[in-house]
């Protein structure tokens, strides 16, 4: 029974982590423009996040050290600090996007302008981080996030040609009239949305908070290998309904409302309500994860006490970082910057920052001195090293492509 409950961690990181504001927006946007011809990028991202999270989970279980702990240990204080700044900024950008996403979802329900919701959402996020037990927050938002399955129902209701969809996935083909750089730019965006660094910070730190030991490696693997593919399937469903409903009428997604539109068209009002509940749960859950992760990165670099398993007074500097991050995120949103635009940039910068944390974890997971007989096996290692190449290529190509395509225009 305890094992069964532990899988909920996987469900949360799958729904609130795999599907967050980045996946909602990017998948709908790409679906409405390219159909499923970029599904391969999501699938590569799925393999990548599985490999990355499995290694981080295993390292956390064997050594009790979370991801950013090892970043400094392996890279030294100087490169580690540069890494911290980059990872913190990307996580912060994602945090801004998630809070904005919750506010936009609430605007869809209430028609109250999202900027009025921003301070309230931020307060709620902070209160949950401050007071609610780790296991409660992961289960509640994990389960509510399952509401997004309604995108699968909507896809079913649209009675698509399944062979046609499969063909689009299996035989990638750039639609006519679209430039190659733009196509590749969106591939990187989807890859970054699937493989956001904070997911791994949260996953490994969560493992340490729950005091994983070697015995929990199997739980961690179940979480990764069931939870993440489930999240990827939802991502693909979002792209598919968008491709079926919005692509033919030439709607380009640039608001959160348009992400939910195909659900309303396909399955009606109630389904739309469920979808918006899913938006709120997934973005709120991800806001908690990114907020906690902002604190994790800084505290783990400097060696401060962190986490929700101790009294906040015992982890004072950690909670101060979280609190200041929340205030900073509100300040950024109140500049009236468009949260959907922030999201689009955050997924690309996630891809840029990935090698910084992936590489040290790969090195540690391979170190038999450190990991004993739980070090990477040959197959894992081949896969993980191949993934490193993909990650580095995506990271290096991202910014030139962003400039060349004017961020995908």
């Amino acid at each position: 029974m305890k094992r069964l409950l532990a899988v909920a961690l996987g469900v949360l990181t799958a729904i609130g982590g795999f599907v967050d504001i980045g996946d909602l927006v990017t998948n709908a946007l790409v679906g409405s423009r390219y159909g499923l011809s970029l599904a391969w990028a999501t699938l590569i991202g799925l393999v990548g996040i599985c490999v990355f999270a499995e290694m981080s989970g295993r390292v956390a279980a064997v050594t009790g050290r979370a991801t950013f702990d090892l970043v400094r240990e392996r890279l030294g204080p100087r490169a580690g600090l540069a890494n911290l700044v980059a990872s913190f900024l990307v996580t912060g950008l994602t945090f801004v996007a998630e809070i904005g996403g919750v506010a936009l979802s609430l605007e869809l329900v209430t028609s109250v302008y999202y900027l009025l919701w921003v301070p309230l959402v931020a307060l709620a996020v902070w209160l949950v981080i401050w007071r609610v037990r780790f296991s409660v927050l992961e289960n509640v938002f994990g389960l509510l996030g399952l509401a997004l399955i309604v995108f699968g129902v909507a896809l079913w209701q649209l009675h698509p040609s399944w062979t046609g969809l499969l063909h689009q996935v299996a035989v990638p083909h750039k639609p006519d009239g679209e430039g190659t750089p733009t196509y590749l730019y969106y591939a990187i965006a989807l890859f970054g949305a699937a493989m956001t660094p904070y997911e791994v910070f949260f996953f490994s730190s969560g493992g340490v908070e729950e005091r994983w030991t070697r015995k929990d490696i199997i739980t961690s693997r179940i979480n990764v290998f069931i939870g993440f593919p489930l999240g990827a399937a939802l991502s693909l469903a979002i792209a598919a309904v968008s491709a079926l409903v919005l692509l033919p009428v030439g709607v380009n997604v640039d608001t959160l409302g348009q992400v939910g539109l195909p659900v309303a068209v396909a399955a009606g009002k109630i389904a739309l309500a469920v979808a918006i509940l899913g938006f709120v749960a997934a973005t709120f859950g991800a806001a908690l994860e990114t907020g906690l992760s902002a604190g994790y990165t800084v505290a783990q670099y400097f060696g401060w006490q962190w986490g929700k398993y101790v009294r906040p007074r015992e982890a004072a500097r950690y909670h101060a970082v979280v609190l200041l991050s929340v205030l900073a995120a509100v300040a950024v949103l109140l500049t009236t910057v468009d949260p959907v635009k922030v999201t689009e940039y955050s997924v690309v910068f996630s891809a840029v920052a990935l090698p910084l944390t992936y590489f040290p974890i790969l090195v540690v997971a391979n170190d038999p001195d450190y990991m004993g007989d739980s070090a990477n096996g040959r197959v894992t290692n081949a896969l993980a090293t191949g993934m490193l190449v993909v990650i580095v290529v995506a990271s290096v190509a991202a910014i030139p492509l962003m400039i060349a395509t004017k961020a995908g225009q």
Binding site: E73, Y309, A320, L323
Partner: protein
């Protein structure tokens, strides 16, 4: 610690997490204090902690600023970086374990300040969730 094991200070000691007797996280090994004996050998005598220990290792202008600001903010009775005597170390593994409690080693004046002036004042700060 006389177990005859060879240690690479750079790889196996520097930048590792220090954990107290109760499993709480204390600090990182920001730097090490080495003391020369009469016969010219170097002994590791303490773990040095905080921006004044870390700053010089980061180097450059940023490192100087870090160390400089911490020095200016330190009270007259804390003119040297906080340290943990190496005799307190009980285990060197993926973390460095020490024999004392975090509250006893008193190595993080910033933590105390943040606790006293910010976090400790928020309702609920004294209860684990």
């Amino acid at each position: 610690m006389a177990d005859g094991r060879q240690l690479d200070l750079q790889l196996q000691l520097l930048d590792r997490q220090v954990v107290d007797a109760g499993g709480r996280l204390v600090c990182k090994v920001d730097d090490l204090e080495l003391t020369a004996t009469d016969d010219g050998r170097l002994l590791v005598t303490a773990i040095l902690i905080g921006p004044r220990a870390l700053g010089p290792r980061i180097g450059g202008r940023l490192g100087r600023w870090m160390a400089g600001i911490a020095q200016r903010l330190s009270t007259p009775d804390r003119q040297l970086p906080p340290r943990i005597d190496f005799g307190q170390v009980t285990d060197i593994g993926t973390a460095i374990a020490i024999a004392r409690r975090r509250s006893e080693v008193d190595v993080a004046p910033l933590d105390d300040w943040v606790d006293e002036h910010l976090i400790g004042r928020i309702p609920g700060a004294g209860h684990a969730s």
